[in-house]
């Protein structure tokens, strides 16, 4: 990450719970502290409670219990218009009966700014998103990407310290989405604002965020910077939700500190790093990333356990090759390797042995 931020508790969720029907909790005991200037992403499948958290922060939903602090102040009972939080909506919510300029003037008018000041700020905000020539257009006359920029400019024009974004790039095509990710990230760094970003797109979360909070079932499963999240998932949900993942089920055969050996269900033994297992005999799921799997003996550490594998098929993906293997009775074991000059070509039906560094195999909770 390019910026390092201290977690000074600019936004704090303190034991927040939310229920809509009085019977089930959509958000269960949320504790989260966000630092000033941080880009924090709430990532999770739909229904995981991430959008509800964002709406509580924006003031459109009230927390059923617990409190939300903004810059040290409890904002539970503060109406949305007094919070001074910028927000970008998934549908952009550009006012259709106003021009782009009027859309941007709206937050400034309700703050009672003079016309001269408004015009200066609008011009600055539009230039910031390279839309300076579009002030007199109507939103309907703009493409999706242009509307997205205007929505961004409108959320920033009144200089909020905190900006919330609710899947802002969900409606854009892939190429434009990647471009806008880059622009939003650049704006965040230039303006030094705090951003809370909600998405279900893990790629988006990994490329943009300082930290990612992975939501599932109303709880934060893991809160960590992208690299840590990808390389050191805390549990099986995070391991399978972020990136491609191989999961091998088994029981702990031996445990020494964080070094563990796991006996798979077919009797094979592998090395692993103990993450959230405590005792020998416990059931576990070992998570290994496809690109960390080796099939050349010289690349494996000394004394590492290896497993026999049968190549099922190999998919040519350009920069990499993706082989599906049958390992330990599972035929959905995936290995990725770089398409370099002189790389060994595997053929379906070939028998190989695969292995990995023990720190790349993480023994997690059983699925």
């Amino acid at each position: 990450m390019t910026t390092t931020t201290r977690d000074d508790g600019y936004v704090v969720f303190d034991r927040v719970q939310k229920s809509y029907d009085g019977q089930t909790l959509v958000v269960k005991d949320l504790n989260l502290s966000i630092g000033r200037g941080e880009f924090l992403t709430m990532l999770g499948p739909s229904g995981s409670g991430k959008t509800t958290c964002l709406m509580m922060l924006a003031g459109f939903e009230t927390a059923t219990s617990g409190q939300i602090l903004l810059d040290g102040r409890n904002i539970n009972d503060m109406p949305p218009h007094k919070r001074g939080i910028g927000m970008v909506f998934q549908s952009y919510a550009l006012f259709p009966h106003m021009t782009v300029g009027e859309n941007l003037a709206f937050p400034l008018e309700v703050r009672g700014m003079t016309k001269a000041e408004r015009e200066e700020r609008i011009a600055r905000a539009l230039d910031m998103v390279q839309m300076g020539a579009f002030a007199s257009r109507r939103p309907a006359q703009l493409s999706g990407g242009q509307q997205q920029r205007i929505a961004l400019a409108r959320a920033l024009v009144f200089d909020p310290k905190l900006v919330l974004m609710d899947e802002p790039l969900g409606a854009l095509d892939k190429q434009l989405r990647e471009h806008m990710q880059f622009e939003i990230k650049a704006l965040h760094e230039r303006l030094g604002i705090t951003v809370v970003y909600v998405t279900h797109d893990q790629g988006e979360a990994l490329t943009m965020s300082d930290r990612i909070a992975v939501f599932n079932d109303g709880r934060i499963q893991q809160l960590a910077p992208p690299a840590a999240l990808y390389e050191r998932p805390d549990n099986s949900f995070v391991a399978s939700f972020i990136g491609e993942n191989n999961a091998l089920g088994g029981t702990i055969a031996s445990l020494q500190g964080d070094k563990a050996t796991v006996r798979l269900f077919n009797g094979d033994v592998i090395d692993a790093t103990a993450v959230n297992v405590r005792e020998v005999g416990q059931q576990t799921t070992v998570s290994i990333r496809p690109e960390r799997i080796e099939f050349k003996p010289e690349m494996m550490p000394d004394g590492a356990h290896t497993l026999p594998a049968e190549v099922m098929d190999v998919v040519y993906m350009g920069d990499i090759l993706r082989a599906r293997l049958k390992v330990a009775g599972q035929d959905d074991f995936v290995m990725k390797f770089r398409n370099t000059l002189g790389q060994t070509r595997l053929n379906p039906g070939e028998q190989i042995r695969v292995g990995w560094h023990p720190q790349d195999a993480r023994a997690l909770d059983p699925v």
Binding site: M87, V110, M131, A133, G144, G145, Q146
Partner: protein, 431 residues
Amino acid sequence: MASPLDPHAAIVTEAGGLDATLTTADGTPLKRALARASRKSRWRAFLLVLPLLAFIVITFVVPIGQMLHRSVYNDGFAANMPQISGWFAETEPGTVPDDAAFAALSADLQAAAEARTIGIVGTRINYEMPGTRSLFTSTGRKVRGGVEPPYREALLEIDGKWGEPELWASMRNSSTAYTGSFYLASLDRTRDTNGDIVQVNENRRVYIMLFMRTLWLSALVTVMTFLLGFPIAHLLATLPLRRSNLLMILVLLPFWTSLLVRTTSWMVLLQQQGVVNDLLIWMGAIDESGRLKMMYNQIGSIIAMTHILLPFMILPLYSVMRTINPSYVRAAKSLGATSWTAFRRIYFPQTLPGLGAGALLVFILAVGYYITPALVGGASGQLISNMIAEHMTGTLNWSMAAALAAILLAGVLILYWIYDRLVGIDNLKLG
């Protein structure tokens, strides 16, 4: 300019129209080939709408055309009194009738009396000058056997009214089959003895007042339906579907009840010995001598019409409100607007197409409303449509009814045109 990296900003439409001499592969001009290819589907479309088209032409366009024609055409005098009509055509308005005029008149009267059309002639003049029908019929009886010259003295002897300039002015006005006199009468105007357009006597000036009252009451009813319907429509659009369906049934319930039944129930409720007055007395708000008059006056018309026309305001509003994404109001609030500002500047402007449609619908329906004012309006709650009905069924002056209706139609069309200029008819959303 947009960023060069943004592919959407760089959409370029091909400039320039198609070349007019474009041909298909076998050399026929493209336009002709296209016309031939689409001819069949156009014929099919035409045949599909033909029954409805015929129905509308026969039941709608033709009667309205006839009505408009009748408003400027009445040959009750001109066809039956040809000689005097000819004299009117040759002389200037204001000419004092000479012997030739009386000769022509008495000949026409005799002929009309013998042909038994004197009543039609009298009725036509009666429209212009009330109370003259009997003059024609009684004179007709007396001249049937022939009139001896001098004609002037002979007619004056039968009835002195034959010398009145007003009568001659009325006959001159009626002497052509095509006439604007019904439109003049609809606007409380007539032609005096010199042929100039003047206002009718003060005690006969009713139509302009009725037009004004109709417009005013319709506008008031429109405002009332808006004030009452807007919150309901909003509730309908925001409630969960199951509960909004129930509410919708309540809104539509009046539609399933006969108009007459609804109007009559209002009579039961609002009359001086009615439920509302009894309730107010029971609550002590008024005493027995102060029973409110809410029926057989304008108030009765307003209340009953507002209730009956309410769904026509609610439904278009509802259909528009349902499509307004709640994130607009949320966005406004997040940008710092209070709930009121968000409503006024963001929500309300987006409901305008529905409001326009509802207002136009209610207003146009109210302008032509007939049964309800006739039943509950009393004297002060009568509208122009009641007068049209009176001329259709009471005085049998269909030309007058047609002229009043045509003015009403023109007024509505003008309103429609103004609405189109101000709001745009494509913004109209009826559902």
